[in-house]
Amino acid sequence: MMEMFNNYEVVKHFPVIAVMGLFLFAFLIEIFGAKCKIIRNTLTLIATGGAFALILGLIPMVFGEGNVISYWMGDWKPVAGYAIGIGYEVDALSLFFGLLVSGTFFLSSIYSIKYMSRDHHLGHYYTLFLMLSGSVLGLVLTGDIFNMFVMIEIMTFASVALTAFRNKKGIALEAGFKYLILGSIGSSLVLAGIAVLYMQCHTLNMAQISSIIGGAGLNPSLVFAFALMFAGFGVKSYIVPFHTPAADAYMAAPSSISMVFSGMVNKAGVYALIRLTYTIFNAMDIPAVNILLVTLGAITMFIGVTMALAQHDFKRLLAFHSISQIGYVITAIGLGTALGLSSGLFHAMNHTMFKGLLFLCAGAVFYATGTTDLDKLGGLSKRMPKTTICFLIGAFSISGLPPFNGFASKWMIYQSVYAKGVESGNFAYIFATIVALVVSVMTLASFIKVTQAVFFGQLPDKLKDTKEVPFAMRLPMWIMSGLCILSGVFYRFVDVNVLYPVRNAAFGVKNYISSMLGGEAAAAASNVSSEEFFTLWDPKLWLILFAIVLLAVCIVVLLGDKTLGAVRKNKASEESDGKYATFFGGEKSTHSHVAGSDLFWGFKKDFKGYFKFMQGMHSGSVNDYALYVVVGTALIVATMFIFVL
């Protein structure tokens, strides 16, 4: 049996069977499973479980022996080093994301069976679900850039239809429509980029394009293509200013779908960005690209977390945290260093686990109570203790508390960004480190608020007879919780066995090209090999940084505005708000007027201008959102032309 996994001729068919199988089963469900529940569930589990098993079967070949699997559709092999057919190419980077995709979809399908059981037209649901999983898996495994575009489009359609699946609610339709408009603009940008790229290279194979660009260098057309595709994939990974449809869609979709959206669909955009910058254009040596990615990442994480603080819906809050965590990943991969890339990938993996877990908990709360509004929830820890434990594990992970996995990856990210700043002497990286630290603190604050609002505090009378969710829904939650703890405790194991080959694959462009097209085509590309494991554990630099921050805070407090307290008191007397009366009014009060969902009202009050501005920016108008995409794209194109050429 084990022989099979070491036989290249057998193993090379696995990726294409996994992708095709998912698409085939999607239509089988529509034919046979529309009426019968048992057939439908069996087919779904076979398809997602089978795909997961096939992708797992690639591990000995790709991670173990360091091979790159190349498969040509219809056996149209390259002639004289020139690609003709459509190729699938699975190196360690593709496999890493492929594992995350298939694992997430498998867990989500287990969860769906119970969670979706109260909805109607489930045949369509599972058809779309399998279409989505097939397209995301195809996207990360393919070696052909137009195939990637087609997969992106299928992904967008399936995502939109699933977002609007509960179409009894107006907001689901509205979110679906916005998602479709912005997603289509993003796909159009990618397609325009591909067209310009084809004009220059006359091929669609990624390895071949990489080899041609490596030999000829960049010209204005290629830079333009790069900028367009960069913006297009940016829309797919929901970095600010392209993030607006994500927050709506994650909120309106069923939780099992929010989990795969947040866990994998935006990660597919991140994968495409890594492929674009590291493999196809080999652009990570250009400082402007690094700075652009780090800047976008820092802005994304800051705006994501501050918007999350202002939310009153459980799932919308999680959606903004999801955007914020993608900012960490983008920042880390934008560094272009070995440590940066491995920390970014590690955080992407951890984010899939803990954010998936948190969305499943939100789904469990919705299943049990029928609402996700933070103002209506409270005190559920007594009624749903097991869900509460899972939620706490997820919340600790995302907030970066040791020993959970979020701590390990965030710690690596701080170090890698800081090291890059020291290395290059550029203050922007140091600033990004500070932003990352501040955002982590705000994430913790935000999750204290959610925990207080949903699981602790007073139990509203309406929710007195809430029950714990069934075992079939808890099982994926326990698995994800276990993974969160395991990957946090054994981070060293993950680094050596998983991240090291993946990082080498991302940097080893030469190997990627030669295994697809033969050695000659690879000669032009540069090859950066990276041997070191993460060794940067020097706490002295950190002590200095913390000392500076502490000193700054002390100076502000001691020398700053002496009238701070007085001003607030005056304001309080003018306010008719009950919240202030609790603290400044002087009357005896039996309970606090500050609800759990509004725990940080003081913070929000102090930065009222900022929050008002940001909430105004998220106006809900699809025109505004489209305008942000156009402006963001224009800025990216302009940056590329000014600094890269």
């Binding site: 509205e174 479709l180 408009i181 289509s184 603009i185 067209a195």
Partner: protein, 118 residues
């Protein structure tokens, strides 16, 4: 002649983006998306064009006799076909969503279809 194609395609893309960003009617926004698609399709078809080229069909005798064959690049045409199909799907899905939105909200004005915000 081909330069005209590029100018028109860029103009179409710009026009489509303008429509998506400024028009308040949801159906007009969907039309704007369609126009962006047409612009890109025109650009892709123009890439493969060779002046004086024939249809990309040739026989082995052409090569055996060293007849210089000049034909247009077939790959962009295939890409355009795929892209047109995808564009049709986008329009269909978007318009069906607009119909559903109209039933729920009783309006197709983008300024009123914004219950999710902030």
């Amino acid at each position: 002649m081909i330069i005209v194609n590029y100018i028109v395609s860029v103009a179409l893309i710009a026009l489509g983006l303008f429509a998506v960003c400024t028009k308040k009617n949801l159906i007009k926004i969907v039309l704007g998306l369609g126009i962006i698609d047409y612009g890109i399709n025109l650009m892709i078809v123009s890439i493969g064009y060779v002046p004086g080229g024939t249809a990309p069909v040739y026989t082995l005798s052409d090569f055996a006799n060293f007849v210089s064959v000049s034909f247009v690049d077939p790959v962009p045409q295939a890409l355009t076909l795929t892209s047109i199909v995808i564009g049709a799907c986008v329009d269909a899905l978007a318009l069906s969503l607009v119909i559903m939105i109209y039933r729920k909200y009783k309006t197709v004005n983008a300024d009123e279809v914004r219950r999710i915000r902030g």
